[in-house]
C-alpha cells in the first residue's frame, strides 16, 4: 500500500517529499521494482503533471529538454535530429518502442544498474552487500574500464551522448536548484555512496541544457546481442576500434565517449590502448569464472 500524489508544480512536489517517498515519472524502473517485491515506498510522487519539466525548446542559446520528455519525443525532435544527432540516435537505440513511448530522459539518466546480478536475487556490493558477484560469475557484461569493487556498466545510452555533447543537467532538491555537467553527473559508486549519479535522494532532474554549438556533427554507435531491445555490448575488437574512432565522414579530431565499456559514461577521450589493456584485465575475470566452473 502506498499513497500516490500528483503535484502540478515543483514547489508542491517538494512539499510532498519525505524520506520514504519516491519520485515517479515514466515508471519503467519504479514499477519493475514494485513488481519485484522491493518494499514499497510510503508515497509515490508523480511528476508528470509538472509543466516546467516538460517540452523541448530553444532558450537563450541553449536547447532545453524537460526531464519529462520521453525518449521517443527526443529521438523524433527536429532540432535534436539536426544538431545533436548522437542524442537522437542514443534515444532511438534504447530499449523498445513501448518503453521509449513512456520512459523519460530524466528517468533514463537516473535508472538503476541493469547488471543482472543487481537486478536479480543477489545481495551484491551495489545493493550494500560485501562483494560483486559478476567479477567471478557470468561476467560477459562486466566493465572493461574502471574494473573495481563493482563491475557493472553504465546503463544509459543517452548519458553517453549527453557527456559527449557537453550537456548540463539542471537539478532541484528540497534546498534549491543546481547545475551539474553531464560528465560530473555520472559518477562511479564508492564504498560510502553507492549511487550511480550525483543526485541526492531528495533531488530530481528538472531539465537538460545543451549548448548550441557550431559543430553539429555527431553520431552514436551501439553494438547489441540482437537487433533491438538489448543493452549496449562492450566487447569491441581492437581492429574494429579503429573504425569506431573514425566513423565514416567524421574528422580525425572528433571526440569519442565510450558508454557500455565503463562503469560510467566517460568524461574524457577513450583511447584504443586503454580499451585493449583493460579488456585483458576483464578477461582475466572471465577465466577465473571458468576455472571456478571446472572446480564445481
Amino acid at each position: 500500500m502506498f499513497e500516490f500524489a500528483s503535484p502540478t508544480t515543483l514547489d508542491d512536489a517538494f512539499q510532498l517529499w519525505h524520506a520514504r517517498a519516491r519520485w515517479f515519472a515514466g515508471g519503467i524502473d519504479v514499477v519493475t521494482e514494485l513488481k519485484a517485491g522491493v518494499p514499497a515506498p510510503a508515497r509515490l510522487i508523480n511528476l508528470k503533471q509538472i509543466e516546467e519539466m516538460q517540452g523541448i525548446a530553444e532558450t537563450e542559446g541553449n536547447l532545453r529538454i524537460g526531464a519529462l520528455a520521453t525518449l521517443r519525443e527526443i529521438a523524433e525532435n527536429p532540432i535534436v535530429l539536426a544538431r545533436y544527432r548522437a542524442l537522437a540516435d542514443a534515444c532511438e537505440l534504447s530499449a523498445s518502442p513501448q518503453i521509449r513511448n513512456v520512459g523519460t530522459i530524466g528517468g533514463n539518466l537516473n535508472q538503476g544498474s541493469i547488471c543482472d546480478y543487481f537486478r536479480g536475487d543477489f545481495r551484491c556490493w551495489l545493493k550494500g552487500g560485501a562483494s560483486c558477484f559478476m567479477r567471478n560469475g557470468a561476467s560477459r557484461d562486466a566493465a572493461i574500464l574502471g574494473y573495481a569493487e563493482c563491475v557493472h556498466v553504465n546503463p544509459s545510452d543517452p548519458a553517453v551522448a549527453l557527456v559527449a555533447l557537453d550537456a548540463c543537467i539542471s537539478v532541484r532538491g528540497k534546498n534549491g536548484a543546481r547545475e551539474i555537467a553531464a560528465a560530473e553527473f555520472c559518477r562511479p559508486p564508492t564504498a560510502d555512496n553507492r549511487r550511480l549519479n550525483a543526485l541526492q535522494p531528495d533531488e530530481i532532474i528538472t531539465n537538460i541544457r545543451l549548448p548550441i554549438t557550431s559543430s553539429s556533427r555527431s553520431s552514436f554507435l551501439k553494438t547489441m546481442d540482437r537487433a533491438a531491445f538489448a543493452r549496449a555490448g562492450q566487447r569491441c575488437r581492437p581492429l574494429g576500434f579503429r573504425r569506431w574512432e573514425h566513423p565514416r565522414g567524421a574528422r580525425r579530431s572528433g571526440r569519442r565517449r565510450a558508454g557500455a565499456v565503463a562503469r560510467i559514461a566517460r568524461g574524457r577521450d577513450v583511447g584504443r590502448a586503454e580499451i585493449v589493456r583493460q579488456t585483458r584485465r576483464a578477461r582475466g575475470g572471465n577465466n577465473r569464472a571458468r576455472r571456478a566452473s571446472a572446480r564445481a
Binding site: 541493469i114 560469475g137 540482437r226 555490448g233 566487447r235 569491441c236 573504425r243 571456478a292
Partner: protein, 775 residues
C-alpha cells in the same frame, strides 16, 4: 466392429507400444496427383477472428466466482536438505486459505519417484510449499512468512562433471539416469576408423534453451462434488486427466480437463505440473476454485528447458567422401527432475549412410531447472554438431559441403535397414540450393578458402558475407490410438468432435478442411470442438509433429462414415438406389428406376427433423516394414561484422518434405516459427547459471534474449509438396518440429563461410565471434 491391435508409435524419438481400436478403413489415400477442393488450400484459420479480437478464452483468462490465487515458495538453494519447515505464520495471515508442503501433502511419488514436496531441494526454484489466498499479493506475502531451515548441500551444474563418480549426488543412486549411458552401435567402429583416409573430430557445446511460452504454465481447478474440472494450458488434455486422476486416486471420468486455446507449449506442456496437482489439492482443501499460474521468472526457472549438451564427435571418411565411421559421446544436463532424456545422437544414427556408428548418450541430473521436451529435443543440438563437423570434413576433403551430403545420402533407414515410405531429401537439397544460388556462390573464386573468398567479395568494409546449409531428419508419422466423430445436423451444418487440442498450429483449421473435403459440406458450415476430455474422444498429445498425421486421418474416417450414413438415409428417403446416391455442392443426386432425381440436402434433412447422423473414425495403423521420416534442408545467408562481432542472418531458404501440404498458410507459419526459434538458439538464447551460487542470472526476458522482429530474416519456404503414397489416408507427415532442426547448423556453417572461423559452442555471441577472429 472395431478391431483391437497392438501398435508402435514414435513420440519425440521414443518408441511406445500401445493398444488401439481401429475401424475397417472407409477411405484410401488421396491419390498423389489428386487435386483437392479444400485440402491444400490456404484457408484462413477457423478461429482467427476469435483470436485477434481477444474473444478467445485461454486457460489463464479463466475467472470463477470465489476463486483463490496460488503461489509456490521456491528454494533459494541449488541443493539443500530441509531441516525444518513451519507454515504457522503464513497460515495466520488474513486472506490465506490453505498452505500445502511436505508436512501435509500426499506422500505418493510424482516424478523420479519423489513426492511433489520433497525433503531435499535440487535447484534454485524447486518447489517447497504452495499457498492459496484471496489475492495474488496475499499469497506472495504468505510465502515470505513460511519459515524454512535449509542445510545446504554441494551442487553441480555441469553434466559432464556431474556424471563423474565423485560428483555431488542429487539422487541416492547417482546422477546418471538409469545408472548408465544409452549406447547404440552398428558395425565395427574402431576398425572402420583405421580404414578411413580422413578422421576429423570436434567437441560441441549447446546451452539450456527455454521455451518462453507467452502464456505461462498453469491451471485452474474447480471441484463440483467429487469431480474436478481442470482448465490447463496444455498440449495434452488426456495426459493431464490421467496424471490428476492417478495422483488423486480418482476415476478418469471424475477429472475433466479443458483447454480451448493456449499461448505456446513447444513440448514443455506435455503433462500435468506440480501446479496442476497443487491447484486441485488446494481447491479441495478450501472448497473454492484455485487459479495457479506461474509468473515469468518461474516460467524461466521451473517449467523446463532444452538440455544443455556437450558432444564429442568423431567422423572418418574415404577420400571420395564416403563416410566409414561415426562416433558420438554426449552429456545432456537434465536438470534436477526428468523422466526421460532426449539424446543428441539421433541425427548421427539416422541421417547418413554409414555402416559403423556408435553413440553413447549420458543423461545426467544437474542442480538446475528441469528438462522438458523442446521442439525436436536432441535432434536440433545433435544436428548443429553433426552438420558443423560435416562441413569441416568437406573442407578437409576439398569437396563442396552439399556434394558431401548427397554422396552420403541414405537410401534406406540406416538403423532399421528398411525402406522409407517416402523420402524427399534430395529434392529438398536441390530446391534449396537453387533458391539460394548455392553452386553459383560456392563456385565463385573456387580454390580459395572461405576467408579469402569473402575478403575478395568485400575487401574494404568490415562486413563479410557467407552461405551455409544443413540437413534435417525427424519423425512425424503419428499413429493410433486416436478417435473422432462427425455429427451432421438437420440444417446441413456439421460438428467435428475429437479429444485433440490445438497447441497453436492451426489444428482446428486443417481438421475442418479435411472434414469439408470428405463430407462435401462447405468449410464455413463445419465447426469443431476439441480440447475437452469429457466430451471429446481420446486423442494423442500434440507433440512430436504428430497431430496432423494422427488426428487428420481419424477425422477423415469419421467424415467418410457420416457421409455414408447420410447417403444411405437420403437414398432411402428419396427411394433412389443407394449406389447411385451422391452428395455434391449440397445437392443429393441419384437414380430412381432409371430416372435422375436430385434434391437439396437441406430439404431432405429438414424434412427428417432430428435424425442424428454421427460418423465414427479412428486412426488406422501405420504401414509395417517401412520407416516414416520427414526430411529437409535449410540454406542460410549471413553477414558478419568483423569489428563488432555481430552476426546478422539475411535469409533462410527452407525446403522440407512433410508429405502432402494440408494448408500452405499454417505450414509456413510452422516453418517460420521454427526458424526463428532456431535462429535464437544459434545467435542469442542461453540460460546462464551463476557458477558460484547455482542461481540463474537471467531469469527474465530482458536478459534472456529471444529474437525480435528486427532479427527475423527473409524466410523463403519451399515445401516438397508431395503426398506420401502409403502412410495414411492424407499422405501427410508432421511439420511442427522439422524446421527448427537445421537452422542453427546452417547459420554456423554460413558464419564459417563468411569469416573462416569455426565455432563449436552456441550461441554465437559477439564476444565469441571476436575471440574467434583474434586467434
Amino acid at each position: 466392429m472395431p478391431k483391437l491391435i497392438k501398435t508402435r508409435i514414435e513420440i519425440e524419438g521414443r518408441v511406445h507400444e500401445d493398444y488401439a481400436l481401429v475401424d475397417k478403413p472407409k477411405t484410401t489415400t488421396w491419390d498423389i496427383e489428386e487435386e483437392l477442393a479444400i485440402v491444400g488450400k490456404a484457408m484462413p484459420r477457423v478461429d482467427g477472428d476469435v483470436r485477434v479480437s481477444g474473444a478467445a478464452e485461454f486457460p489463464s483468462d479463466i475467472q470463477l466466482p470465489g476463486m483463490l490465487h496460488a503461489r509456490f515458495l521456491r528454494s533459494p538453494h541449488p541443493h539443500a536438505r530441509i531441516q525444518r519447515l513451519d507454515t504457522t505464520r503464513a497460515e495466520k495471515l488474513p486472506g490465506v486459505r490453505a498452505v500445502i508442503c511436505k508436512n501435509n501433502a500426499p506422500a505418493q511419488a510424482w516424478r523420479n519417484d519423489r513426492p511433489i514436496f520433497d525433503d531435499v531441494v535440487r535447484y534454485v526454484g524447486d518447489e517447497v510449499a504452495a499457498v492459496a489466498a484471496d489475492t495474488p499479493a496475499i499469497a506472495r506475502q504468505a510465502c515470505r512468512l513460511i519459515q524454512v531451515e535449509y542445510e545446504p548441500l554441494p551442487f553441480v551444474l555441469d553434466a559432464e562433471i556431474a556424471a563423474r563418480a565423485d560428483a555431488p549426488k542429487l539422487y541416492a543412486d547417482g546422477n546418471v539416469m538409469d545408472g548408465k549411458p544409452g549406447v547404440y552401435a552398428r558395425g565395427d567402429v574402431e576398425k572402420a576408423f583405421q580404414s578411413a583416409d580422413v578422421v576429423i573430430e570436434g567437441v560441441f557445446e549447446t546451452p539450456f534453451q527455454l521455451h518462453n511460452s507467452l502464456e505461462t504454465h498453469g491451471a485452474v481447478a474447480d471441484w463440483e462434488g467429487d469431480r474436478v474440472v481442470v482448465y490447463e494450458s496444455t498440449q495434452n488434455v488426456h495426459g493431464v486427466r490421467d496424471d490428476v486422476a492417478d495422483f488423486l486416486g480418482l476415476a478418469k471420468n471424475q477429472v475433466r480437463v479443458v483447454k480451448h486455446y493456449m499461448g505456446g507449449g513447444f513440448g514443455s506442456k506435455n503433462s500435468a505440473g506440480k501446479y496442476t496437482l497443487c491447484a486441485a489439492l488446494l481447491a479441495k482443501m478450501t472448497g473454492r476454485p484455485v487459479r495457479f499460474f506461474l509468473n515469468r521468472t518461474e516460467e524461466n526457472l521451473a517449467t523446463g528447458a532444452r538440455a544443455a549438451s556437450k558432444q564429442y564427435l568423431r567422423i572418418g571418411a574415404k577420400k571420395d567422401g564416403a563416410l566409414v565411421a561415426m562416433e558420438l559421446t554426449a552429456y545432456h544436463a537434465q536438470g534436477a527432475h526428468a523422466e526421460w532424456g532426449a539424446g543428441t545422437g539421433g541425427p548421427m544414427r539416422e541421417l547418413y549412410e554409414c555402416k559403423n556408428v556408435r553413440t553413447t548418450e549420458y543423461f545426467v541430473f544437474t542442480s538446475s531447472g528441469p528438462f522438458a521436451a523442446f521442439r525436436a529435443p536432441g535432434y536440433m543440438e545433435g544436428t548443429f554438431a553433426l552438420e558443423s563437423l560435416m562441413d569441416e570434413l568437406a573442407e578437409k576433403l576439398g569437396m563442396d559441403p552439399l556434394d558431401l551430403r548427397i554422396k552420403n545420402y541414405a537410401r534406406k533407414h540406416p538403423v532399421k535397414n528398411l525402406p522409407y515410405s517416402s523420402n524427399g531429401l534430395l529434392d529438398a537439397y536441390q530446391e534449396g540450393a537453387r533458391a539460394i544460388g548455392w553452386y553459383e556462390r560456392r563456385r565463385q573464386d573456387a580454390g580459395l578458402g572461405p576467408r579469402a573468398r569473402s575478403n575478395v567479395q568485400s575487401p574494404l568494409s568490415g562486413v563479410r558475407h557467407g552461405v551455409g546449409m544443413a540437413s534435417q531428419i525427424w519423425g512425424g508419422a503419428g499413429g493410433p490410438p486416436t478417435y473422432a466423430q462427425v455429427k451432421v445436423l438437420p440444417d446441413t451444418s456439421a460438428v467435428i468432435i475429437t479429444g485433440t487440442q490445438d497447441i497453436g498450429t492451426g489444428t482446428k483449421t486443417i481438421l475442418t478442411q479435411i472434414a469439408a473435403e470428405e463430407l462435401g459440406i462447405p468449410y464455413e458450415k463445419i465447426r469443431i470442438e476439441i480440447g475437452d476430455t469429457q466430451w471429446g474422444l481420446f486423442s494423442i498429445l500434440s507433440a512430436g509433429s504428430m497431430t496432423a498425421a494422427t488426428v487428420g486421418p481419424a477425422v477423415r474416417e469419421a467424415a467418410a462414415d457420416a457421409k455414408e450414413q447420410l447417403l444411405a438415409i437420403c437414398a432411402k428417403y428419396l427411394g433412389i438406389a443407394r449406389k447411385s446416391a451422391q452428395l455434391d455442392a449440397g445437392v443429393i443426386t441419384g437414380r430412381k428406376r432409371g430416372r435422375r432425381v436430385e434434391k437439396p440436402l437441406a430439404d431432405i434433412l429438414g424434412a427428417l427433423g432430428d435424425v442424428m447422423i454421427v460418423g465414427q473414425g479412428s486412426r488406422a495403423p501405420n504401414p509395417s516394414n517401412v520407416v516414416i521420416r520427414t526430411f529437409g534442408a535449410q540454406f542460410a545467408e549471413v553477414e558478419v561484422d568483423i569489428e563488432t562481432g555481430e552476426v546478422r542472418v539475411l535469409k533462410i531458404v527452407a525446403s522440407h518434405d512433410c508429405g502432402r501440404i494440408l494448408n500452405p498458410l499454417t505450414t509456413s507459419s510452422q516453418i517460420e516459427g521454427g526458424i526463428i526459434q532456431g535462429l535464437g538458439f544459434a545467435l542469442m538464447e542461453q540460460r546462464v547459471d551463476d557458477v558460484n551460487t547455482g542461481k540463474v542470472v537471467n531469469p527474465n526476458l530482458a536478459s534472456y534474449h529471444i529474437p525480435t522482429m528486427l532479427d527475423v530474416p527473409e524466410i523463403e519456404v519451399r515445401m516438397i509438396d508431395r503426398a506420401d503414397p502409403i502412410i495414411n489416408n492424407l499422405g501427410s507427415k508432421g511439420v511442427g518440429e522439422p524446421p527448427i532442426i537445421p537452422t542453427a547448423a546452417a547459420i554456423a556453417n554460413a558464419v564459417y563461410d563468411a569469416i573462416g572461423v569455426r565455432f563449436h559452442r552456441l550461441p554465437l555471441t559477439r564476444e565469441r565471434v571476436l575471440e574467434g577472429l583474434s586467434v
